[in-house]
Structures are given as structure tokens and as C-alpha cells.
């Protein structure tokens, strides 16, 4: 594209500091200035050609061509294609470049302000303020006060968190839940008393921990042994049920046997 006939002979692209642009609008503005054309009347075909040539150049130099640059190239090509179409005679004022021009003018304002900032910053970088003085005779027990901003606080908190995280690497915690036989016996009796008949296997399946199911199963066996519960099966291969016998159940009686 750079060998375009309109630019031959000799180099067709103005020399440019390729990597120095702060964005696609900056590059576009630069090309407009270099070509000594007005923002309000951009020769869109020529500028588009140069713009895309620079993107190619950036790629060849292995510079990262950000998506925003490619997007602006698409915008330029779109405008170019629209300007090739005959204008609507009813609306001759409509210029496909209008929106881009407005954006460029707005951007240029801030770019100019930034240049002003740069001048001031360069000049003022040479002014050295006094370093913050530490009061020489501050009492030992006096709590020094410092002025901190929200950003300081957040930053410090983040450091603290990072430090904590480093010192306390995430570990897999293994819980050993313990279940007492006595508790399970009481629980089972009250459940059976409430339900009348309880499907045992179904109940055991609802526990989250294997140990809990085992303890409950043991409790059922134990309660059957002391004849508080009755275990039965209504039909062969069907669910095993538990129900209450007539025998009174008082945990106080057997407390010594089934302690926690």
C-alpha cells in the first residue's frame, strides 16, 4: 500500500515515531498534521491509506497493534466507502466525516492540555520541597499521627492480606466429626416415637457422614438388644423398619453404660 502511485517516487510515508502514539486518535491527528491538511476537511482516501500503512509497519516491527487501532482503521475505511457513494441530493450537507471530525477536535483539546501539563510538570520537577520533618523531641509514648488517604489504607490492607496469605497457605482441613452412641439412641427413640414406624435404611441414607450412619445403626442394634426397639421387615427383601416396643425407655437408667 505504501508503494501507491500517488506517492511515488521516493518515500511515501512521512517519518514518524511509530511507538510514541498514545492511541489511534493520536496517530490519526499526527498524519493530518504531517500532511498539512485541515481536520475539518480530511482527504479521507489518502489518510486512510497512510493510516493502514502505519498499522502494517507496526506489525512488521512486532509492536502490539491494539484492537483500538484496528477499529479506527475500520471506521476510516467505512467513511471512505461512504464518501464514494453519491450524496443524497436532498441532504447535501451530510458529511460522513462529521462524527470523526468532532471526536478529533475534542481529543485534540485534551492532547493540547496534556502538552501544557507536560511543560508545567517538567519545570516543576526541578523544585524540591522540604522532606517531612520528624519532630526531634517527640515523647516516647506519644502515638505518632500520620495523614493517610483511603488509597493508603486500602493499599496497606492489601499488603497485610497478601502477607497473611503467604504465611498461611491454604490447607485442606480434615474434620473428624464424632457422634455419640448415647445421643443417637435418644435421637432414634424420639424419631421412632414421633413416626410410629420408621424405615431404617432410608433414615441411614440421609446422613451426611458415614460415621453418623454407622453410629445410628449401632444405636438401633443396641436399642433392639435392650428391647426398646423392634426391628422388622414387612415382606421379604423389603425395607427394614423399626418401631417402639412397650418397654419404657429412660436414658438415665443406662447412662453409665452409654457415656459419650
Amino acid at each position: 500500500m505504501s508503494e501507491s502511485a500517488s506517492h511515488a517516487p521516493g518515500p511515501s510515508l512521512p517519518p514518524v515515531d511509530i511507538a510514541s502514539f498514545s492511541g489511534p486518535l493520536d496517530l490519526l491527528l499526527h498524519l493530518i498534521r504531517k500532511n498539512e491538511v485541515s481536520i475539518n476537511d480530511i482527504p479521507i482516501a489518502e489518510i486512510t491509506e497512510q493510516y493502514t500503512a502505519y498499522l502494517d509497519l507496526m506489525r512488521e516491527l512486532d509492536l502490539d497493534v491494539a484492537a483500538e487501532y484496528i477499529y479506527l482503521a475500520a471506521v476510516l475505511i467505512h467513511i471512505k466507502s461512504r464518501s464514494l457513494l453519491p450524496r443524497d441530493p436532498a441532504n447535501p450537507e451530510e458529511d460522513p466525516r462529521q462524527e470523526l471530525v468532532a471526536r478529533l477536535l475534542e481529543y485534540e483539546k485534551f492532547k493540547r492540555a496534556a502538552e501544557g501539563f507536560h511543560e508545567i510538570d517538567t519545570e516543576r520537577a526541578g523544585l524540591w520541597p522540604r522532606p517531612e520533618a520528624t519532630p526531634p523531641a517527640a515523647a516516647e509514648d506519644a502515638i505518632p499521627t500520620l495523614e493517610v488517604s483511603m488509597a493508603d489504607l486500602v493499599g496497606t490492607f492489601r499488603i497485610v492480606l497478601d502477607r497473611y496469605r503467604l504465611a498461611h497457605p491454604a490447607a485442606i482441613e480434615i474434620h473428624h466429626p464424632r457422634f455419640s452412641l448415647r445421643e443417637k439412641m435418644l435421637e432414634l427413640v424420639s424419631r421412632v416415637e414421633a413416626a410410629g414406624t420408621l424405615p431404617l435404611l432410608e433414615l441411614l441414607g440421609t446422613f451426611r457422614y458415614r460415621t453418623e450412619a454407622i453410629t445410628t445403626f449401632l444405636a438401633a442394634l443396641e436399642l433392639t438388644r435392650i428391647a426398646v426397639l423392634r426391628i422388622f421387615q414387612p415382606a421379604p427383601f423389603s425395607e427394614i423398619h423399626v418401631s417402639r416396643t412397650d418397654r419404657a425407655f429412660d436414658i438415665a437408667e443406662i447412662e453409665d453404660v452409654y457415656h459419650d
Binding site: S12, E60, Y107, H118, I120, A125, G126
Partner: protein
């Protein structure tokens, strides 16, 4: 009046000498149990005297307060003494973003990116880390993005007392108009890979530090 002034000057000088931060007039007035106008007068008198004399320091009014700073011509000597060869500078992108925030605050990151035509989140982080900007709540729109504003550090760095001292947008417009007529050479903050015409030469010298500042060389058109 002059008496009060002469009495205030030494104690003001002592306070200013001991502080690295600009001290507001009201703080002086409260500490010294003096009239704010008298303090202001004394400070102005001291500034005039300090700045007129052949001194290495000057008294400046900045960030809503007063402080001593060294004169710019001694920057080189001071850097030599403190062994600072190059100081970190703001990139063109950072300055642009800062200018947009300064004039349009409070403003959200997407609005800044829209104006610049490029994603600005990395630059915002730099400015935030340098404490030149801070958040100013969230905008009640979809996604509730953060609003950003400039800080007191920004005012101090750029020698302003408040935002009203920023150059007016009209002044920038005039400046623009003048620039369009005169020399349109853009300010190059970053020396980078120079490429002449086509075909491009890929073996470019390594780009020096992004923050350094070198003038662009004149451009000759064929």
C-alpha cells in the same frame, strides 16, 4: 499592621521550614492565634522578599497552602548530591488521561477511554498509584462504574491552588488556533523507533525508557 507582619514572619518561617507539606493560611492563623488576613499578608511579604533575593529557595502558594521549594536551576546539583540520575516522568498517555480527568471530573473510565479512543485502565492505575487521582463515588448508570477526580497531590505537582486555576478551555482553544497557524510540530514526549519512508526498516535501535524525554529531530519531506 507592618508590626504584626514583622512579628509573624519569623514564626511563619520556622513552621514552613519544618514542614514538607503546604500549610494552609487558616492553619497558621489558628496555631498563632492571629488574623488570617495578617498571616496572608505576612506570607505574601515573605514570598516577595524570598523570591526577589538571591536565594536558593522560594516560597510558593500551592495546593491551598504555602511551602518552601528549591529554585529550579539547582535541580542538577541536588540530583547529583542525592544521586538521582533520571526521575520518573508521566507518559503522554498518562498526561492525556490526567488532563481529561482534570477538566471533566468526576468522570468514569469508559468515558475517558471513549475520549481517548483507547483503553485507559492501565494508565488510570498508574495515576492512582502516583496519587494524582482518586475515586469519587460511583456513577448511577448500568454497571455503576467508579468516578475519578484529581487529588491535592495533583494540584501541588502542577503548581495549582485549586482547580479554578487550571487553564481555561477557551485558552486551550486559542492556543490550538495559534498552533494551527504557526508551527504545527507536535510535542514528542517519547523518543522511539524512527522510521523513514518505505520500505520500513525493521532493525530499529532499542527504544529507550518510555519516560525519558528527547526532542524529535526535524523532519525533512522529500
Amino acid at each position: 499592621m507592618t508590626d504584626v507582619r514583622d512579628r509573624l514572619m519569623p514564626v511563619l518561617e520556622a513552621l514552613l521550614f519544618s514542614s514538607g507539606k503546604p500549610i494552609p493560611v487558616e492553619a497558621f492563623a489558628e496555631m498563632l492565634d492571629a488574623d488570617a488576613a495578617a498571616v496572608e499578608g505576612a506570607l505574601r511579604g515573605m514570598a516577595d522578599r524570598t523570591n526577589a533575593e538571591d536565594r536558593g529557595i522560594r516560597l510558593e502558594s500551592v495546593g491551598g497552602g504555602w511551602r518552601f521549594v528549591t529554585r529550579p536551576e539547582f535541580d542538577g546539583v541536588l540530583r547529583k548530591y542525592f544521586e538521582i540520575s533520571e526521575r520518573s516522568r508521566l507518559s503522554l498517555a498518562a498526561l492525556e488521561t490526567l488532563a481529561i480527568i482534570a477538566y471533566r471530573q468526576p468522570i468514569t473510565a469508559p468515558e475517558i477511554s471513549e475520549l481517548r479512543g483507547v483503553n485507559s485502565s492501565a494508565v488510570l492505575k498508574t495515576l492512582f498509584d502516583k496519587k494524582l487521582i482518586t475515586t469519587a463515588g460511583k456513577k448511577p448508570v448500568v454497571g455503576t462504574p467508579f468516578l475519578y477526580k484529581t487529588t491535592k497531590e495533583f494540584l501541588i505537582r502542577f503548581g495549582l491552588n485549586d482547580l479554578a486555576e487550571l487553564p481555561k478551555p477557551e485558552e486551550i482553544d486559542e492556543d490550538l488556533a495559534a498552533a494551527a497557524e504557526g508551527d504545527p510540530a507536535p510535542l514528542a514526549l517519547v523518543p522511539a523507533i524512527h522510521v523513514e519512508g518505505s520500505p520500513p526498516v525493521p532493525e530499529a535501535e532499542p527504544a529507550p525508557g518510555e519516560e525519558a524525554s528527547t526532542p524529535t529531530r526535524p523532519i525533512s519531506r522529500p
